[in-house]
Amino acid sequence: MTDILSYNGGTIVAMAGDRCVAIASDRRLGVQYTTIATDMTRVFKMHDRLLLGLTGLATDLTTLRNLFNFRLNLYKMREGRLIKPKTFANLVSSTLYAKRFGPYFCEPVIAGLDDEGNPFLCAMDLLGASSNDDSFVVCGTSAESLLGTCETFYQPGLGPDDLFETISQCLLSALDRDCLSGWGAEVYILTPSGITHKTLKARMD
């Protein structure tokens, strides 16, 4: 048990396009080198313009998903409106840092559209240190490979269809070089008119 963040495996990438964002994840759930599920969901819809992806330890994934759903419901009840992506990013960051000396072993990726329809991307480490980017963000066991593919294939200003193709190729190519991630992929495309969800079949190993 050396690296807790790679115990269950899993990878997420998010990319920004022209008034759209895409977030994609793999579907493997493992216990070190054994695969125990191939239909794991890592990306969760927070509301119509906000998606949260979580990588890392699966138990903390579940806990944080429930915790953020709870916090969002409270926010909606008090504020009477949906939370903005950058506010939610701050909420996630504070929640993680509150556990500074006994953290959640989870590295989140946030993808959303703000009120004007502009993309918002944010990735964090397990302590809540966030990095915002206009182009792409990555987290998980294939993060380095994803950095390579995204850096090469990404272009700014892609439409929803081109963005889908680009993010899929980036993820699939990177997954093939990581034994802890894989067994298919899920891609979510978020536009002002709604969310589309596609499942990709890839090398099932």
Partner: protein, 218 residues
């Protein structure tokens, strides 16, 4: 109990090497940055050596071991040339390197090698090695600090993996060189140990030609 500082004979000088072989050509490329921890002692250190008119070796890892290893290979090749009255062929050089590396099995050369060239039938191939001589003849290989960034891009663009719509085809020499320049630019962005300058060898049956490109100095 605090960990004691222990002297190590090894040091990692970073760097990345890529080899892509086509039907009748081979492209070998490497950056020229020499790193030591977070410092950059030199920006212009070559990782590629031309062993024969159509054979180039590229090595990432520890520069001292690289320099020594390249020298040892060239010396052995000279001896071979005196006995056999001809230059060593690609396959023979590849096998010899494996033997040389395994001879140091219990105090290895800290080197991650790639040999690229044209074989006796005129076809391009590259060989990838680990530190103790395990090798494989392939068409595409990369090694070094940005290996995890570059390898998936080569899988996708040269081998057409995961591209269900597209037709797999052979890349031309110019397309391969452009691709290699692109992957190194991307690698420089995300890997601190890769950068400064890029050396590319374009190898054909007629010989090898070397070109240099600027990469980011940061």
């Amino acid at each position: 109990m605090a960990a004691r500082r222990q002297w190590s004979p090894y040091v990692d000088n970073g760097g990345t090497v890529v080899g892509v072989a086509g039907k009748d050509f081979c492209v070998m490329a490497a950056d020229t940055r020499l790193s030591l921890g977070y410092s950059v002692p030199a920006r212009d250190v070559s990782r590629l050596t031309k062993l024969a008119p159509s054979v180039v070796i590229g090595t990432a890892g520890m520069q001292a071991d690289t320099a020594r290893l390249h020298n040892v290979i060239q010396t052995n090749m000279t001896v071979y040339e005196h006995s056999h009255r001809r230059v060593m062929r690609l396959g023979a050089i590849a096998q010899m390197l494996s033997v040389l590396l395994y001879q140091r099995r219990f105090f290895p050369y800290y080197t991650f090698n790639v040999i690229g060239g044209i074989d006796e039938h005129g076809e391009g191939f590259v060989y990838g090695y680990d530190a103790i001589g395990s090798h494989e003849r392939v068409k595409v290989v990369c090694t070094g600090s940005a290996q995890s960034q570059i390898q998936p891009v080569l899988d996708n663009q040269v081998e057409f993996k995961q591209q269900y719509g597209s037709q797999k085809r052979d890349l031309s020499l110019e397309e391969t060189v452009d691709l290699v320049k692109d992957v190194f630019s991307s690698a420089c962005e995300r890997d601190i140990y890769t950068g400064d300058f890029l050396e590319i060898y374009k190898i054909t049956k007629a010989g090898s030609e070397m070109e240099r490109f600027e990469l980011k100095l940061d």
